[in-house]
Symmetry: D2
Subunit: 391 residues, 4 copies
Amino acid sequence: MVPTAAGDRLGVWIVGARGSVATTVVVGAAAVAAGLAPPVGCVTELPDFRGAGLTPVGRLVFGGCDITGVPLAKRAEQLVAAGVVPADLPAAVGGALAAAEREIRPGVAAAAGRQAPQATAIAAQLAGFRERHGLAHVVVVNLSSTAPQPGPHPAYASLAALRAALDGPEPVLPPHALYAYAALGAGCGYVDFTPSGAMRLPALAELAAEAGVPYAGNDGKTGETLARSALAPMFAHRALRVRAWSGTNLLGGGDGATLADPRAAASKNASKARSLAELLPEPVEGEVHIDEVPALGDWKTAWDHIAFDGFLGVRMTMQFTWQGCDSALAAPLVLDLVRLLGRAMARGAVGVQPHLAFFFKDPLGSDEHRLVPQYELLRTWASPGIPDPPA
Amino acid sequence: MVPTAAGDRLGVWIVGARGSVATTVVVGAAAVAAGLAPPVGCVTELPDFRGAGLTPVGRLVFGGCDITGVPLAKRAEQLVAAGVVPADLPAAVGGALAAAEREIRPGVAAAAGRQAPQATAIAAQLAGFRERHGLAHVVVVNLSSTAPQPGPHPAYASLAALRAALDGPEPVLPPHALYAYAALGAGCGYVDFTPSGAMRLPALAELAAEAGVPYAGNDGKTGETLARSALAPMFAHRALRVRAWSGTNLLGGGDGATLADPRAAASKNASKARSLAELLPEPVEGEVHIDEVPALGDWKTAWDHIAFDGFLGVRMTMQFTWQGCDSALAAPLVLDLVRLLGRAMARGAVGVQPHLAFFFKDPLGSDEHRLVPQYELLRTWASPGIPDPPA
Amino acid sequence: MVPTAAGDRLGVWIVGARGSVATTVVVGAAAVAAGLAPPVGCVTELPDFRGAGLTPVGRLVFGGCDITGVPLAKRAEQLVAAGVVPADLPAAVGGALAAAEREIRPGVAAAAGRQAPQATAIAAQLAGFRERHGLAHVVVVNLSSTAPQPGPHPAYASLAALRAALDGPEPVLPPHALYAYAALGAGCGYVDFTPSGAMRLPALAELAAEAGVPYAGNDGKTGETLARSALAPMFAHRALRVRAWSGTNLLGGGDGATLADPRAAASKNASKARSLAELLPEPVEGEVHIDEVPALGDWKTAWDHIAFDGFLGVRMTMQFTWQGCDSALAAPLVLDLVRLLGRAMARGAVGVQPHLAFFFKDPLGSDEHRLVPQYELLRTWASPGIPDPPA
Amino acid sequence: MVPTAAGDRLGVWIVGARGSVATTVVVGAAAVAAGLAPPVGCVTELPDFRGAGLTPVGRLVFGGCDITGVPLAKRAEQLVAAGVVPADLPAAVGGALAAAEREIRPGVAAAAGRQAPQATAIAAQLAGFRERHGLAHVVVVNLSSTAPQPGPHPAYASLAALRAALDGPEPVLPPHALYAYAALGAGCGYVDFTPSGAMRLPALAELAAEAGVPYAGNDGKTGETLARSALAPMFAHRALRVRAWSGTNLLGGGDGATLADPRAAASKNASKARSLAELLPEPVEGEVHIDEVPALGDWKTAWDHIAFDGFLGVRMTMQFTWQGCDSALAAPLVLDLVRLLGRAMARGAVGVQPHLAFFFKDPLGSDEHRLVPQYELLRTWASPGIPDPPA
Ligand SMILES: NC(=O)c1ccc[n+]([C@@H]2O[C@H](COP(=O)([O-])OP(=O)(O)OC[C@H]3O[C@@H](n4cnc5c(N)ncnc54)[C@H](O)[C@@H]3O)[C@@H](O)[C@H]2O)c1
Ligand SMILES: NC(=O)c1ccc[n+]([C@@H]2O[C@H](COP(=O)([O-])OP(=O)(O)OC[C@H]3O[C@@H](n4cnc5c(N)ncnc54)[C@H](O)[C@@H]3O)[C@@H](O)[C@H]2O)c1
Ligand SMILES: NC(=O)c1ccc[n+]([C@@H]2O[C@H](COP(=O)([O-])OP(=O)(O)OC[C@H]3O[C@@H](n4cnc5c(N)ncnc54)[C@H](O)[C@@H]3O)[C@@H](O)[C@H]2O)c1
Ligand SMILES: NC(=O)c1ccc[n+]([C@@H]2O[C@H](COP(=O)([O-])OP(=O)(O)OC[C@H]3O[C@@H](n4cnc5c(N)ncnc54)[C@H](O)[C@@H]3O)[C@@H](O)[C@H]2O)c1
Ligand code: NA
Ligand code: NA
């Protein structure tokens, strides 16, 4: 891989480029770069990352694909109406929106027919994007609607099996995984911000190694699970015995609708439950509900209720209500992830990047789920002078 | 100091021995030792501390002083009525209560007259307690009612100045600090579980060094502040800009009444505010209220409301309600602290013990306020084979 | 019907007599009558009902049936352990528990075989209970586990059709409705504290008229729905536009387990949803969840989140958390209902008693769902000198 | 008084005309009248008031006074930035804002010097306003910053004493009460939306009778107290024993700053406490805090915690968090009050209007504090054909 100086531009190719999070990323990056908005929520703008040599937000080049045709400028206005994006911003960053608009291609809506050529076409789109902007590196980010985790399939077991199956007449990869396959093959880094779990397929992990590119995932940690990853260690380390941890999520905008489909919700629920199980010493009672409440729009409201026992079995409770704007929480993390993965690519890192666990509900390559230790791992990795672990 | 094998018994001399927390400590230690209650809430019973060579809970010997005469057994029944102690326990551990009762002496109610002889008398009580039970080490724990932080005073500047002043006709140390002086002088370790702040007096820090004993404090971290020390890092590390952090504490039992006195509340509030200021990158709006609500008894209810900005200045909120039993939260931490300080004494450690910051709202000798890193510091210190830092 | 003076004793025959609510009723009635506990939660002990001529709590005679054999004394101890009943009460009211125990008969567990003789047998049990204690009146209260609402069935359309079907070989009424049939036929008043909805069957309403007895129901209003019936009118009368009303119920003890069965939960959910629809001018988004969380025992915790628009479409929210002990909330209402229905019987009232809507989630015979107007209706009906409406 | 047909225009003269609530009133009235916003929050637009013959919102004529000079259009933009008023509205109702701007006069900032001529000047302003717009009736509404309740003073005891004192050299009425005096004297109806309590002065009540005009007050019921007036009756009517009712209010915009001044807060707190005492049968523990949190702007957040006992003394709790936009809650009530008081004037009603208790925290002339009965009183008064009670 060709190391890049911080000055070079880094490509960001978004699968689901017209979604709520994606649009907030493009508008936000331009606003922050132009000094129209403070970099609040951008981890990589914290003092701890000053010396990490990351590509400045203003030198990110956006492109991607989507299966809807709604113009970015229209989506930005919708986010203004939803209270996610300040009213004056879309107009002020019109140029950036137009530039990204020019680089958005129609996406693959469904797994259909022979997929090998479809992968080749995507790889060509990526290569074209790279050349048109003279980009040393491109990071592909999956921000498409949550899809069910791909079930076990012989073609997923090895790269060879996968390549053979993709050549066959029948589709074998769901669209999001087909993009992952094409991206890795085209030498792009890959970030899965969704719980759809493409990089849990052994064949794709093998491809990343073969292509010599880094990847990270799964499922951006933005609301309820973020709070859980900060709070659960408090109970564990103080030996307080959690008996039940119940959660109800109310959300309307963006992904809300998709999660009304039980199968899609299943992958989201599984990744939420997994993260809690990792953080607490014993299994606990309690269910998680994800209710689609259109009236709430992008304002995700999560109520968690924790029943726990203390000394001599005394029963106590803690409850919290999180009222956050999902897209506004996710977007800066996407900017962080592409800049950090860009640094990994510049340093020749290959395969899963465990130090990015800090950003994910269901982190690949790491069994550290506690938020603060995850931060320390990231901070240490990003400190100048610390070489990357060998591939 | 005479190193002790784990088998030896460790003295625990409690200032405020008839208080809610103190009584819960004595009842709880006996119950856990007798297997009548699981060690829920006892940090030092976690797997991470198995190899730390701590004195078993059953080999702790209790004594202390108080300015009320209410028998421990009566206080235990009150805690049963308050729902803090299970109904059947006091009878089941009657023997332990009686043993502790025999070792409780009248305390010094107020700073009055010439204090040198009063200190000598306390030291004699401590020495007697140690000899009667053949104890290698004694840890003195301050669990007396919250007192105002001692204001600046020339006698506090050095041990020599303090000794001279104590010899004079006028009192110079508030009771809790007089006990600290006597304890350190008598070669006892000292834990200040209150925000009263004796060990912030340079003269007493000097005394600890001279006596070659370790100490730790201030102000047990049990409820609202515990949750803050877990949550605040989430906002800091995710670059979320906290604008206001408001807190309302409702409590009735034990210390509730004392905190109705504004001066005493001031030291509690100061220690709460200090901890938040350490955890967040910039000052935030919001007030803390501590309301005495007798009807709530020992059930401290704390509501915190956090207003924070995210990406592009989007306003979001988080609120939590903590409903915990203060004495049940504090008591196991006292057992942890005496066992850990006992280990420090056995290893010849002297002066402030920064690795105990995990237990305190306003930790001495450490500027690490984040709960999980505090835990890692403690776990590392307690790992077998890691020598103590030189005195 | 034989009018009774207030001095006479009133029979209370409970279907589900060994349940959490039923046991709390028997223990509580005895405790209040003996002055061992204040009549907190007893509406009919409020000053507004002093002149209503109700049977004193001490002159209620308890009996009933259940399909488990767990002794009442044992159930009472379980309620002490669950924190519902104060520790010392069961022993103090041992006599009352034993008296009730003697009057509890095995219940009909399932709808099986020819039901006419089963109804006759129940009627005989009721008559025996009445004679043994010289009772002028008996009120039968359904406190058995929530059952699904009986679906439409030709036998339910008229009393004649029902009698014919009951004589046939196949069962036609679920157990709770069979008890209702027997009770009304035996001249007993009937209260359905459950959402199982027997009295929504036209045949049984017809029977009540024929037998000349009053009845009331459905589904005791104790927790989340009680709060909704007080809060929803605030939004309606202030023209605040509720957009979504979401609710999550966490409960463990008693009925919690039953409600884990979706069909039983359906009748509970339907009655909750119906009550909200009556209280608000337009349909609203939001779902209701009833989670079985054994760890919470009898402590039902309900979180409701209300998203509403105000002037100029400004979005606002209100959320509440109700932490109540279901059985302790239900039991006093059962005492109120039997005393009030006893008064109705003494005054020769027949058929549905709309003025008891105050006690029910899904009130029969009344379309007034607002809590305070319901109270005014009850208070007015209970005022001395106000004759009952003609049958 | 000259009865008016519904077609005639009604004058609304606002003391504090440039405040947050006042500006929202003017913008909102124009928006609703122009069909740019639905009449959400307007009680008098509910079906129950269709036949009440109220002046349509579009036929209200606005004027008033203030002690700042900030143009209404500027204040409206500030309310857009605060999220209170939708972005596009101020421009769309520019004409209405300009018309009101023309009718705003400088207010009396402080009680100084001889007040009789000041009162005469205000009366002249009111008369001029009435003539310029050919208004049959004018209602003066106090929306100025909360002021301390005027302490006892001989001049307040009777109209004669007051007139004499006003003629003296020293000021005797705080500005808000001076306006009330001038308004009533000029034949205007008077609504005190603040807790400043002018109409609790006997002299001013006497003046209203002499002038033959109606008045209503005190302190608009919009947030925490509104919820309390709906919830407290639930505890009272279900005989649930409230032991403590604690409240914390966090508010930034508008009145927030004023309430930071303890004396002003005192009148607000007193009116809050009074309303709770009226609603519950016995005094309860718990404090009310009003914290100024500028970061929250107009978003008033109130957390209430209610500790109550149920049957057999079982302790339960309810807590709620109200997150409302104060100005958006208050403004429609001001429109309701002026339209209803306009109807009272048209029907020759004189003196306090108890049926308007529904709108006030501390209602004059009524001891009914329960929200729903207050609504029924209002609805009945507004029903066509029901004559006003004789003056
Ligand atoms: N917002 C958060 O806090 C958060 C947190 C964790 C994970 N995520 C994940 O991020 C993703 C995006 O969330 P969002 O709120 O922007 O959702 P969204 O629905 O607004 O956007 C998803 C976009 O993906 C597009 N899409 C769907 N299928 C596609 C395909 N086959 N090819 C290309 N594009 C496709 C859709 O057209 C849409 O524009 C979701 O998977 C969500 O689970 C979001
Ligand atoms: N419970 C918690 O969660 C918690 C947390 C942090 C700090 N603390 C601190 O622990 C201390 C004890 O709390 P508690 O709830 O047991 O209070 P408590 O009031 O029940 O007990 C305090 C005891 O100290 C005794 N005392 C007062 N002055 C004394 C003196 N001069 N000499 C000897 N005894 C004296 C009192 O008589 C009383 O028995 C308080 O200072 C409190 O601030 C408690
Ligand atoms: N507790 C509340 O707040 C509340 C509120 C509204 C309604 N309810 C209703 O009251 C009822 C009782 O609640 P609970 O908490 O006591 O439940 P529970 O499960 O403790 O008691 C139910 C009892 O009914 C008995 N039973 C079941 N089927 C029977 C049959 N066919 N014949 C006779 N007995 C039978 C069970 O054995 C059990 O003892 C439930 O239907 C519940 O929905 C309760
Ligand atoms: N917003 C609510 O929910 C609510 C509820 C109940 C009561 N109130 C009361 O309504 C009033 C207005 O609230 P707000 O949020 O608009 O406050 P605000 O501070 O925005 O407006 C008050 C206005 O009064 C003006 N003023 C002050 N002294 C004056 C004087 N002597 N003469 C003329 N004008 C004067 C100020 O300049 C300001 O423009 C307050 O008294 C408040 O307590 C408001
Ligand atoms: Na604390
Ligand atoms: Na209920």
